[in-house]
Amino acid sequence: MSWRADLLAVWAVVVRNALMASRNVFFFFELLFWPIVGVISIGLMTRFLGITPAQASFVLIGTIALSVVNVCQLEVAYAVLMDVWSKSIKHQFLAPIGIRHLTVGSWLVGMVRGGALFTLLAALAWWAFDFRVLAAGPRAVAVFLLGCFLNAWIVGVFVCALITLFGNRAEAFAWASVNLVLVLAGIYYPVSVLPAPAAAFARAIPLTYFLDAYRSHFGFASEFAAPIATGLALSVVYAVVAHLTFYASVQRARRTGLLLKMSE
């Protein structure tokens, strides 16, 4: 496939996802309502508990990261979900399109949505709780967002794989998967407070390292030696595994006929 055809296929998915997003009221809730409710309620809770500003920033960084990852991973999952809902998935896979076009195209839209959400939540956290999430500087923010988006891509692609493996029954993973990250990746607490087996799982999640690296700019001692490098290395490994899993599940769906069943 030529570069031009590759880019066009990705662009087709970008345009499709953007159009669908602009016409669905639930997308508005995903992008604005729940994340804003999350930051305000968590911010108010930190006030009520009377925790230090540093501890409040620890929790708010986690809350914002979770919202960004969630919005972006849902968009990646929409690469398959929207076609499953509208029973048009066979037309998508009848066209000369690879799974990389689907996931990258959706991811690009997810990054735009995630970036917009991050900006909005950063402004809200500043205005409502005097927490300056951008204080770490543009380079740290960029690395942090890159980590969030990479994690979102990985989770989203795994969700796509599960949907093409199990059909509509796996839809719930799209919304549930991020909660697993919430428990294990140290969103509201340091990984060190987790029981040993759970902490081992946490160390296997790339987001843990990106959160750790970003929080170090707010006065928290890093728990890991080279968090960014480790996070990036883990992300690459998971991205490859996620891509291959999705590819294998599409091939399986072509063998089992699930691809057709999901279009009936």
Partner: protein
């Protein structure tokens, strides 16, 4: 030197497919049991058969949506498994129960698939406009898919299936659920595709008239096997249904009529003697001559060719 284009658009041999459902105690359904099918380039071929015969499964394998368990299938000279990506650029498909992203508008749906097939800029706009024009979708180009009627959805599906100007088009029950007048127009479009572009078309249908009107050849599938294939005329002849010559005779029909050359059987009811013959055009003059010679008055004569539907019923038994 480039290799010459193969004369067969489809060359499928002993294609088999079994579906398994359930994870722990899988239930097996043999959808195809060794299907062999050859389709020449530029032909319109119909796959006929009862529900669950394996028509859609065969079509889906040939369109690279399904991977066969056994057998080989070459489409436009390419292997449907090994060369699936290259093949997808050159074929397309429309089904009788079309479904696309519900909130995309008609023009956006066609444009989305156009981009997937490598169109962009002016070329994409021109193609989308042309297809919208061709399928009389202009008043609906900005209407979301979910708000279209069944007939309009069908037209969108046909327009989408032509967005890459395919060499081979699969149509899965293209007139299912359409009003008769829309079905007639859709059939006219299908015939025009072959006439004007030389496109090879493989369609599945339940409507015998559709198959007779459109198809050069038909293949009957039942329980995952092709029972018979050929031109509609050849099939009728092969099944031995024959033409029916109905005669009103005075006095009663002579005894020899049932044993005359070319007569397969004769029966009299309600004043009509119906003789099934191998070829009405060939046998009728001889029969009339003999009847006149014996002084039998022929009050009325009707000749009816068997319909493909009768072949279908015969084969589906």
């Amino acid at each position: 030197m480039p290799s010459p284009a193969p004369t067969l658009a489809i060359d499928a041999r002993e294609v088999a497919k079994t579906f398994r459902s359930g994870w722990f105690r899988p239930r097996l359904t043999e959808a195809l049991r060794g299907v062999t099918l050859q389709v020449p380039r530029g032909a319109i071929v119909g796959l006929l058969g009862p529900n669950g015969a394996g028509k859609t499964t065969l079509l889906s394998i040939l369109a690279t949506l399904l991977i066969p368990d056994r057998g080989t299938a070459r489409v436009l000279g390419l292997d449907v498994v090994r060369d699936s990506m290259a093949l997808r650029r050159r074929l397309n498909m429309a089904s009788g129960r079309p479904s696309f992203l519900w909130s995309l508008r008609v023009s956006e749906i066609i444009a989305f698939y156009g981009r997937l097939y490598g169109l962009s800029g002016v070329a994409l706009r021109v193609r989308v406009d042309k297809l919208i024009e061709q399928y009389e979708l202009k008043p609906y180009r900005r209407v979301p898919y979910s708000e279209l009627s069944t007939g309009l959805k069908q037209r969108v599906a046909l327009a989408k299936s032509l967005v890459n100007d395919p060499e081979l088009l699969f149509l899965d029950e293209p007139t299912l659920g359409l009003d008769p007048d829309v079905s007639v127009r859709v059939r006219a479009h299908i015939a025009a595709l072959r006439r004007e572009r030389g496109m090879t078309i493989v369609l599945t249908t339940h409507y015998m008239r559709e198959a007779e009107e459109l198809c050069d050849e038909v293949a009957f599938i039942k329980a995952g096997r092709i029972l018979d294939a050929g031109t509609p005329e050849a099939l009728k002849r092969r099944i031995g249904l024959g033409d029916v010559i109905a005669l009103r005779l005075e006095p009663a029909p002579p005894a020899w009529l049932g044993e005359a050359p070319g007569v397969l059987r004769c029966a009299t009811a309600d004043g009509w003697t119906k003789c099934t013959v191998d070829d009405a055009e060939k046998r009728l003059p001889d029969l009339l001559r003999q009847l006149f010679a014996e002084g039998v008055t022929v009050r009325n004569v009707r000749v009816r060719e068997p319909e493909l539907e009768e072949v279908f019923v015969e084969l589906a038994r």
